[in-house]
Structure formats: C-alpha cells, structure tokens
Subunit: 129 residues, 2 copies
DNA sequence: GTCTTGACAAGAATCATTCTTAAGTGGTAT
DNA sequence: ATACCACTTAAGAATGATTCTTGTCAAGAC
C-alpha cells in the first residue's frame, strides 16, 4: 500500500476505502457499486468523489476501466493484460487469463500501430442458463 | 432492398434514408452522425426517430450496435462476425476480417455457454501518428 | 370505409458521467 | 510544530447520450 505514495497522489481515507474495495475484487464493479459500498463507511461521500478517484487511479495505472458493458463503465483492479467473458443476461463478467496469439493480418493493417488487444467472449452464465 | 418487407416492418422514407446511409458504410457512425446526415433530406426528422429505427433494424438483425467507443454507441451495417481496430486518439474504427481461433480455456470455462467473441485491437491510426 | 398496428415528431425524462465552486486536508518544507 | 500549497472533497448543477411519452398519422387488414 505504501507504494501508492507519490507526487500528486494523496492517500485520503476515501481513496483508501475505494482502493481497499477494489483490491483483489473480481466482480468488475461499476461506479455505483463502489459508491454504495464505500458509503457505508463514509456516509457523507459524494458520487463525484468516487469518479474523481477512479479517474485518478486509472491515470496512475492502478486500475483499468472496461467498456464491456454498454450501460455503464466497470472498473478492474487487475491491470495485467487479460480478457473477459460476459453473460448477456445478467451482465456478470469473468476474467479470462490466457495469452491468445492474435494479430491484425498484414494486408489489413494499413499502417496502424497496434498497441494491444482485448477479447470479449459473450454467452450465458451457469446461473442464467 | 425488397427483402426488408416483412410483418411489422414498414419501409418509410425516413427508414429508407437511414438504411441507405448505413448500407456499405465502413465508418461505424454514431446515432448523431446518422441524424446529421439524414436530416439534410428530412429536415423535420427527430433524433428519437433515428434511435427508434436503429433499434428496430438491430432487432431484425439488419445492423449491429458496437460498444467499442465508451463515449457513444456506434452502428455497423456489417452483421457478419468480424473484429475491430480502433484508434485511441481519433476513435476511428476499422474492420478486421479474419477468423481467429480463440476459445476460453477449459479450466476457466466454468459451465459458461460461450456464444461468440469479439476482438478489439487498439492503437494509433496513420493520421494520428 | 373502418380498425389495427406500427411510425412519426416533439419534447420531457432518465441516467451515467463530468464540471464547478467553495471549503478542507495531507504532506513537504520551514 | 507551523505554514503553505497543491490536491481533495462534498454538493449540486450541468452535460450528453439514450429512452420514454404523448398525440397524431398512414398503410395494410378486414
């Protein structure tokens, strides 16, 4: 946790609570999920504070934001390159850790500089079947 | 075009204009792009009509909507399974037609019924480099 | 011709996210 | 310990994409 101390990054209680909630969290929560949880400890916390902190954490590379769910943004404390499996019904998201060798075919790669890729698998989860 | 005639699907001038704009369109336009274009021909057209039609066309399987751009939904007349390459700077989207053999590893596929997958490549386009 | 169904325009409503403002606070330098 | 300053916070307003509502209209079914 100490590794988070750096210039322009203050460890406020609100921020620590958000980080704690996210740490090791595999549920890919939305801003609202985070807000509802952290508000239990900090009843005066504002929604904007959640967004501010998420954006700051993302900038610093501590978390990443996912566009998997078209309805709302989701946040993932796992910043390593991995993929996702999403249930079309309940929208639950499961990590897929595997190193797929995918590359844009040369003839279609029109001078694009490819920096990364993300695979989204979609289907139906066991509960929704 | 005649193939679109079916029960509960009326070919109104507005709808035809939207379909014409989308047909063969490789730019993955947003609802606003479509609205701005079609309004040239139908100045009284409302934004809601664009959304209504896009949703209807999507339901009928004539177009698909993409969540690639976190800012706004984009629409694609190409409903065949393909992937996308997106420029992180200007947000332009290019189709990637290739059949990648990707599968969720057995040990992680916890009884999930996988129906499909979509690969998103991201990077910098020639213009933005 | 009348009925039914789907489509239209216009604008209000919704909802996630961002912005604004004023007041507060952590961490560094003093 | 104190003071300062950049970063944070809370609160609410603002934004912007999308959806919903309402009243009207048109096409095809009967």
């Amino acid at each position: 946790m100490e590794r988070y101390r750096e210039k322009g990054f203050k460890l406020t209680p609100q921020r620590i609570a958000i980080m704690k909630f996210l740490e090791g969290n595999k549920n890919h929560p939305s801003a609202e999920d985070i807000y509802l949880y952290v508000r239990k400890t900090f009843p005066t916390m504002s929604f904007a504070t959640v967004y501010n902190n998420l954006e700051t954490l993302r900038e610093k590379g501590h978390i990443s934001s996912l566009s998997i769910d078209p309805e709302r943004r989701r946040y993932d404390p796992d910043t390593s390159s991995h993929h996702h499996l999403i249930c079309l019904k309940c929208k639950m998201v499961v990590d897929v850790h595997a190193d797929f060798k995918v590359n844009v075919p040369e003839e279609q790669n029109t001078a694009f500089e490819v920096l990364g890729s993300h695979i989204e698998f979609y289907g139906t989860c066991p509960e929704c079947k």
